[in-house]
Symmetry: D2
Subunit: 162 residues, 4 copies
């Protein structure tokens, strides 16, 4: 194999998170962001990113953010029997992203409660805001999808008052 | 924004290619590979990566490889009016990938002609081969999808005899 | 080929629209709906429909509704050089849909202007509301994605005042 | 709701299967087919159906065929604890499908064994063959994905010798 080596500059999806996971040092109050490259799979016949796919990009950013603050998704479900589901999403599509674009996708916690999180998310290209969303997540039990309190370690990490 | 910083270790999708692009130094004859993280979007209700999505991972690897040898996709189509399409794909699904897996996806050119490429591609997790494919690509004109000779600069880069 | 025959009862994606297209008789003011079957491709490892995929279902319903009132998508772009893009989407995910569910997806025009439409869309299973959305569409030119007035025949069909 | 009514002519995804399910009368030895409409979600920036999405179409046809011979997917997994996974796929992409195309997708069993099925699948537009595949499916237990014998009722239905 030709060695890939450590990427520099715009490191695509999740690179940042992966390193951050080690220390779990990412901030829970300031925006977190990951790079996302636009591939053919993301586009449609109008020549732009298909609108539902921005939600995929945003979920990647949330996943990497959770990992970065110390809660990798797979372990999370195994350890606590809960998952986060999107409860509500308000999304504005301002300008289209196109094939091969190098995007940045951010997540910032706006509000948090015992069983829910509200996040602001943005998709940017060269600091131009293409898409923005307000996403409400609910913590639910993995079997029945009923709202439950977040696991205590995560609540503490998010500084949610008991 | 909290700084993402240079990712270390397994840098997800395309990181390798991005750095390699600068010099266009990637080899055209030895395997090239990129890391891919498995997100919810990639999985299905059986708890594993949905079979069609491995083809997405493989196309990301091919795209980054083309960029790495100096032919970023978007410019390629604009400059030459051609695109690569998959003509045939033989794919073996040996073991399933799962949520949050850190995969490596490789591409290696097996054969090349005036208007086609044959590549071997693998999806690995910790050096275990999960999926492997033999993919035949055709260079076609972007308007009518008829086979055409590859642009001369790419043919030279791939060391295809005239 | 074993004959498929005319489907009865819950006919999946678009069946309704297809027949309606012939006469272009669908109402522009009352809800229109299509059946959608949930396949593995639509689900994720949490065992439910992946959240972004509801937007796909909703777009299928809008497409079939446009066809049903006499404006099949492909001809539309060719004839007028315009496309509809989603400008804003507010979506509430109330209950999850699961593998093999037989869903109904509706579209109802709430508001219309010279270059935009606002629609209410619902996803139902056995008359239980699973997901609902308010979607704002903009009519844009296909080349630059700038808002333009809807083509006159469509504006007339939608009874938009000149 | 404006009544959808029974679709006529090209009934999209699964309509055929739905009616056939009632009697479980579909043949297991002659081709079975379903109509599929191409939406924006299926296409990419090259203006054609994205190559991985043909595998989605083919899986829809297999799912509807299984339902049509009396084995709806969801019940199947619940009742027997097994799932079918794709083990190998050889696929030839001959001509591209485009936005709004009305396709037919077929499935025909070529070979069957105690724990596997080999199927031939085609994607057609107006009887022109666009894509064809040979797909090998394995029956595995849902927990560990190890090959197991097909449930006896299905084996009988498929006329597999004990």
């Amino acid at each position: 194999m030709s060695s890939a080596g450590p990427p520099q500059g715009a490191a695509p999806t999740g690179g940042a998170a992966r390193s951050a996971v080690r220390g779990g040092q990412a901030s829970v109050s300031s925006p977190f962001r990951i790079p996302v490259r636009v591939y053919y799979e993301d586009t449609d016949a109008a020549g732009v990113v298909y609108y539902a796919n921005y939600l995929k990009f945003m979920e990647r950013a949330r996943t990497e953010w959770l990992a970065a603050i110390g809660f990798p998704l797979a372990e999370f479900e195994r350890a606590y029997g809960v998952v986060f589901v999107v409860h509500r999403c308000e999304i504005d599509f301002r300008q289209p992203a196109r094939l091969n674009d190098a995007l940045m996708v951010s997540v910032e916690v706006l509000d948090r409660g015992a069983s829910r999180l509200v996040a602001r998310q943005e998709v940017l290209r060269d600091d131009v805001l293409l898409t923005e969303a307000r996403v409400t997540l609910a913590c639910v039990d993995a079997a029945r999808f009923r709202p439950v309190r977040m696991p205590a370690p995560l609540a503490r990490r998010l500084e949610i008052a008991a």
